[in-house]
């Protein structure tokens, strides 16, 4: 395996925007991987990382909106992105299906993020050349 051939990645983000640097470092990595001709099989949000999929973040206008940046990148490159359902429901990240099921007043999941189980992570882990994790720091 050399770095000149096409390889594939699953990226797992476990740190939230604005309380960690994880989404931002992961985005820098993902952009570089795509630019190098590699493939990103999927992005999996786990634990506090699910907050990256919020449609409701409104940081000050002179700060980066990491949810928006990630959303654009995923859409531009047609990369599947999944927030873990167990992490998301506990932390209040909800799509329309879950909104109906739990009779909640709203949905707040940003496209193109989807909600699914840990099986997506397991599948990525098997399929991709490398599965990398982007955790919160301290």
């Amino acid at each position: 395996m050399t770095d000149s051939s096409t390889e594939s990645f699953t990226l797992v983000i476990t740190g939230a925007p604005y309380s960690s640097q994880a989404p931002q470092t992961a985005l820098g990595f993902a952009q570089a991987a795509v630019n190098a001709g590699h493939h990103i099989d999927r992005v999996f949000l786990y634990g506090d990382g699910v907050h990256l999929a919020s449609a409701l973040c409104a940081p000050p206008s002179d700060e980066t909106n990491w949810s928006e940046e990630w959303s654009r990148f995923l859409t531009d490159h047609s990369i599947p992105s999944v927030a873990c359902i167990a992490s998301a429901l506990r932390r209040g990240l909800i799509n329309e299906v879950e909104q109906k099921r739990y009779e909640l007043p709203a949905a707040n999941l940003r496209a193109p993020f989807e909600i699914a189980g840990l099986g997506e992570w397991v599948e990525g882990r098997i399929k991709s050349t490398r599965t990398l994790y982007f955790h919160a720091g301290d």
């Binding site: 797992v12 476990t14 740190g15 786990y46 634990g47 506090d48 990382g49 167990a86 992490s87 506990r90 189980g117 840990l118 099986g119 992570w121 397991v122 599948e123 882990r125 098997i126 599965t131 994790y133 955790h135 919160a136």
Partner: protein, 116 residues
């Protein structure tokens, strides 16, 4: 494609220990070899007789006892950390193997991950 899930955060204060367990159980459910390694303050997940109802949570003792049934290959605990936290065979839950956490331990796995 064996995976080692590492847990170094203490129980109950954060959710990441539980989320690490979920990762290991998911691997096992998809027939992927998985083991758990508890280090640092994380070894405290392995103490007998945790009564978490008073803090509105469930103890994970039952989940960990069921680990072999669900196909988790091993529950490993860092010997030095167990010493630090007064954990020995009489106070650890059943089925835990004490290990010295060295380079060689990790190179035995294809993949090593924390939950957070």
């Amino acid at each position: 494609m064996s995976t080692l899930i590492m847990i170094d955060q203490p129980p109950y204060g954060a959710w990441s220990g539980r989320e690490a367990l979920d990762m290991a159980f998911s691997l096992a459910a998809f027939d992927q070899p998985a083991s758990l390694l508890f280090t640092g303050a994380g070894v405290n997940w392995l103490r007998q007789a945790q009564e978490a109802s008073g803090i509105g949570q469930k103890s994970v003792e039952k989940n960990l006892s069921a680990a072999p049934i669900f196909g988790i290959e091993a529950i490993l605990a860092d010997r030095a950390a167990c010493n630090t936290y007064s954990l020995d065979e009489s106070s650890l839950i059943e089925g835990v193997t004490l290990v010295d956490v060295k380079t060689a331990l990790l190179t035995g796995y294809h993949h090593t991950a924390f939950a957070g």
